[in-house]
């Protein structure tokens, strides 16, 4: 049953939350015991996880930097979580000082935290919305204002679509977002993939199954398919460290161990 709009969602700090678990992996303390508990168990099963999360964050940084260098000054970060370190607005403004960012998350704690953090930043806004209802998300005033100007927008779906189940139709969601993006916009996307460590995917998905945000890892083919309608920027859909590395040593000899695929597409 869908809750009517005017009934508020609850804030359940008794359950682990993907945004706060992610923060823990990145060395942050924006998390609660339940989050750390889950993260520790995940790391026990899969010690590289913090490294993978950092690689994901590093991809986000490189991709946002790329977008800013392409002249993009509008950013829509969907599934932004707790953007404490290396937040999109900070990265973007290194290149484009006036960059505007709208952060979107469905978790009320993450949203509240972002609001506290960004209270003094007139160019950043926070929206609580659910990616599974893209039509609703797109009509939220800050989002609509960002897109309505007709200028290219960088839409970030970084490590978020694997929280969308097949039944919730991730391809359909991306399609709806694409339809709202002005020409020349950029899609920045990363997604947990099945190929890198097939031995780990099962237990890891089981662990997340107990959170409000269960995890669905997908194949490289499915992930590439999410860029339908976009022109892929070099080098295409690749393992996280392989996307436009800043130096050859950064990729390492086993990029597949990062089990995340990333890519950037440009809307013609």
């Amino acid at each position: 049953m869908t809750r009517p709009q005017w009934v508020p969602p609850g804030t359940d700090t008794e359950k682990p939350n993907a945004a706060r678990v992610y923060d823990y992996y990145l060395g942050g303390s924006h998390n609660f015991a339940v989050d750390r508990e889950l993260a520790r168990r995940a790391v026990e099963l899969w010690p590289e996880l913090p490294m993978i999360m950092r690689a994901n964050r590093a991809f986000l940084r490189r991709a946002v930097h790329y977008a800013a260098e392409q002249g993009i000054t509008r950013f829509l970060d969907i599934g932004s979580g707790i953007p404490t370190f290396g937040a999109v607005h900070e990265i973007a403004r290194e290149t484009a000082p006036g960059a505007e960012v709208v952060y979107v998350d469905q978790d009320p704690v993450a949203v509240a935290h972002s609001e506290l953090l960004l209270a003094d930043d007139p160019l950043s806004q926070v929206v609580q919305a659910d990616l599974r209802q893209p039509a609703d998300l797109l009509t939220r005033p800050p989002v609509a204002a960002l897109l309505d100007a007709g200028e290219p927008v960088a839409v970030l779906l970084v490590a978020v679509l694997h929280f969308i189940t097949d039944a919730e139709d991730p391809e359909g969601i991306v399609r709806q977002l694409r339809a709202a993006m002005p020409a020349g916009s950029i899609l920045i996307l990363s997604h947990a993939c099945l190929e890198g460590r097939p031995d780990q995917t099962g237990p890891h998905q089981d662990l997340y199954a107990r959170t409000p945000t269960p995890l669905t890892m997908r194949s490289r083919k499915r992930i590439s398919g999410l860029f339908d309608g976009f022109d892929l920027v070099e080098p295409g859909v690749v393992y996280l460290p392989e996307w436009q590395p800043e130096n050859p040593g950064a990729v390492g000899s086993h990029p597949e161990r990062f089990t995340g695929m990333a890519g950037v597409g440009r809307l013609p």
Partner: protein, 706 residues
């Protein structure tokens, strides 16, 4: 420190390289290379400052620790690597360990502060989110509260024990009560004697969790004792585990609507003038008696019609008539309603009393006498003292043996018998008289449409030669498959058809059908085909179009006129100058033969018989039938039959005896020279297909050939 640094021994370059490499490698790419380069430069400078400071000040090294934490070098592994680096490549002799210690302290303090700050900020965020949710929840609760408080519909919440927990102002207003009046009240207290049957059953099922809601129109007593009618909806509220928790009742005041409905219902079921039940309501009550009767249940009807009401109405005017009717109704109701009988006005000056439970005919008759007695005294209308009489048709039956419509018809017919027998009396239903009257009624009402709807059909009865038993002729006998009365024979409706004139189209139809059938036999069997006898009613014989009708039918069916014999009754032709004679002559002229039917049943005028162009004579069935009657002299009977046979032969007519039912009679008739016979012994009226079989059998037996 006084010693000047010697560039040759300067280890800073190799330390600097190692330091830069450490910072670049241990970060996982989260920082932009340019940012790391800036960090390397700044920290290298600080470390140099610490190393060279005099006196020794560890604070720049502490700051390096803090800078690393701020740049998210928070992994303890980083600390280990830094300390190791400081030990392995001492910046400057004795200060290495101190610098390492200062760095570690700065790193730890910064990390601790960062952790505390972030914990605080996330708690703050969680708190803010929770407050936001609470505010929203409160707002939504406030919205509901406002809805509850200001709803125009009465809302009450109760627990499963029936305790009323909370009611809204609209409900208080509906009940005309103050909050304290309802405090501690129970739902069960709100019973009203006019509660719709089932409402409390539904309530029980709801409380038990067997149903989720119900709706009824239900009356309540207001606090002031007045009755308020409501449209009540009760809903069961369950918890998340689907266990029943509360009941919510919503009540809409429909008192005005209900009263209007009641008034309309009263108007719809009562006679405006007298206030008695009206015709429709009476039939409803009557039909209810038949709905689920007890075995052996009896009921009674008294149909009442005022005697001479029309005269009063015509002479004194309608107002006087109406006053009289109202007075009569009041008297009837006064004596009969207390006995539990239903009194209704059917219209005009007709009233009816329904005894829904009747002990027997005596009780119904007693009611009739009571009501006649009640009408005994004069009624004062204006200046007039009018004496009213009435006739009553009394019907008393078991429910199982009749139907509402039949009972009403019977009571009505009985009333007319009462009127005929003299006024001011009651007459009890007589089944035999009724049957006759009903038939006439049912027949005359239905007959006009019956022909169009194809309800008539024709059977054929054999007329056999007494000489050899062969099939000589068939008589066409019309039947009516009446939708209510079943199959009727001609004796049951032909008289009515003659009265109403329907006999003309019906007769034509019969002739057409029968001629077509006979023509078919003729074509198939040639000389073996029987003659066709068709009855001609008196009224038909006098119809101008008869001759041309017959001619047309013969032409259209192709029947040989010599195969058609029309049977006429004595009464059809009464004299030499009868207007039908020319027509009969014309028929004979075209080759059709005539026979006198039912001979001897009327005052036969033998003289006219000689003048009629007939060729056959059928002795009325009663003469042969009487031969069975032990009370009648059989020998005399036979002599009469013999006389008729010889009379007919004298006139040159073929004689047919009717109603021959035994071989003995057939033999006796044959021996006295009677030509043909008809009756059950020779065959009942049957479907044409059976006649066809019989013709074919006759051919097989006697060797006729086409």
């Amino acid at each position: 420190m006084s010693a000047a640094p010697a560039p040759a021994r300067e280890p800073a370059d190799s330390f600097g390289e190692a330091w830069a490499a450490l910072l670049h490698e241990s970060h996982g790419g989260m920082l932009a290379p340019a940012v790391i380069r800036r960090l390397v430069n700044r920290t290298t400078e600080l470390l140099r400052e610490a190393r060279n400071g005099d006196p020794f000040d560890p604070r720049p090294a502490e700051e390096v620790g803090a800078l690393l934490v701020h740049a998210r070098y928070t992994d303890p592994g980083v600390l280990a690597r830094v300390v190791t680096l400081f030990q392995r490549q001492p910046l400057d002799g004795p200060r290495g360990p101190a610098l390492a210690g200062a760095f570690a302290a700065g790193w730890a303090v910064a990390l601790r502060e960062k952790t505390l700050r972030e914990q605080e900020s996330i708690r703050l965020a969680a708190d803010s989110a929770r407050k936001g949710a609470e505010r929203a929840l409160y707002a939504s609760e406030a919205r509901f509260r406002a809805l509850f408080e200001s709803a125009a519909i009465g809302i009450g919440i109760g627990d499963l024990e029936g305790r009323i927990l909370e009611v809204n102002p609209a409900l208080l207003e509906l009940f005309g009560a103050r909050p304290e009046d309802l405090a501690g009240r129970r739902v069960d207290d709100l019973v009203h004697p006019e509660d719709t049957p089932g409402v409390w059953d539904a309530y029980g099922e709801l409380i038990a969790g067997k149903r989720d809601h119900f709706q009824f129109d239900k009356p309540y007593y207001r606090h002031d004792g007045e009755v308020v009618w409501t449209h009540l909806t009760v809903t069961l509220i369950r918890d998340q585990q689907q266990r029943p928790q509360y009941q919510v009742a919503m009540l809409e005041d429909i008192t005005d609507r209900y009263r209007l409905q009641e008034r309309l219902r009263f108007q719809a079921t009562h006679d405006e003038l007298t206030g008695l039940l009206n015709r429709a309501a009476f039939f409803e009550r009557l039909e209810a008696v038949f709905e689920a009767p007890e075995p052996g249940a009896r009921f009674g009807l008294c149909y009442v019609d005022l005697d001479g009401f029309k005269v009063i109405n015509d002479s004194l005017g309608h107002d006087a008539g109406d006053q009289l009717l109202a007075a009569v109704a009041a008297r009837l109701a006064a004596v009969l309603t207390p006995l539990g009988h239903v009194v209704a006005r059917l219209g005009g000056d007709e009233f009816v009393v329904l005894l829904e439970n009747c002990s027997g005919a005596e009780e119904a008759v007693a009611v009739a006498e009571t009501l006649l007695e009640a009408l005994d005294g004069p009624v004062v209308v204006g200046d007039h003292r009018l004496s009213v009489g009435a006739s009553v048709g009394v019907l008393e039956r078991t429910v199982a043996t009749t139907t509402p419509m039949a009972a009403v018809r019977a009571a009505d017919l009985t009333l007319y018998r009462a009127k005929e027998e003299g006024r001011g009396r009651w007459t009890l239903f007589d089944p035999r008289q009724n049957a006759r009257a009903v038939n006439r009624y049912a027949v005359s009402v239905r007959m006009p449409v019956a022909l169009d709807r194809g309800e008539f059909f024709i059977d054929y009865q054999p007329l056999c030669s007494l000489a050899d038993g062969s099939l000589a002729a068939v008589e066409a006998l019309v039947r009516w498959r009446h939708p209510q009365l079943g199959v009727l024979g001609p004796e049951e409706f032909v008289a009515t058809a003659e009265e109403t004139g329907l006999i003309i189209p019906l007769g034509r139809w019969v002739l057409e059908q029968a001629c077509a059938q006979a023509a078919d036999w003729s074509r198939r069997f040639g000389a073996a085909a029987p003659q066709l006898n068709v009855n001609l009613a008196a009224r038909q014989a006098r119809t101008a179009g008869l001759v041309s009708d017959v001619a047309d039918i013969l032409a259209s069916t192709g029947l040989d006129p010599g195969l058609l014999q029309l049977e006429i009754t004595e009464s059809a032709v009464v004299g030499r100058d009868d207007e039908s004679l020319p027509a009969l002559h014309a028929l004979v002229g075209m080759g059709v033969s005539l026979a006198v039917d039912d001979f001897g049943s009327g005052w036969s005028n033998l003289a006219y018989l000689r003048d009629l162009p007939v060729s056959g004579l059928k002795i009325a069935g009663s003469f042969v039938a009487d031969l069975h009657d032990p009370e009648k002299d059989e020998q005399l009977g036979w002599r009469i039959v013999g006389a008729m046979v010889s009379l007919a032969h004298t006139l040159g007519l073929v004689v047919t005896a009717e109603e021959v039912e035994s071989e003995k009679h057939a033999e006796r008739l044959r021996s006295m020279g009677c030509d043909w016979a008809q009756g059950w012994y020779f065959g009942r009226p049957v479907r044409p297909s059976e006649i066809t079989v019989r013709i074919a059998d006759g051919i097989a037996q006697r060797g006729y050939r086409q």
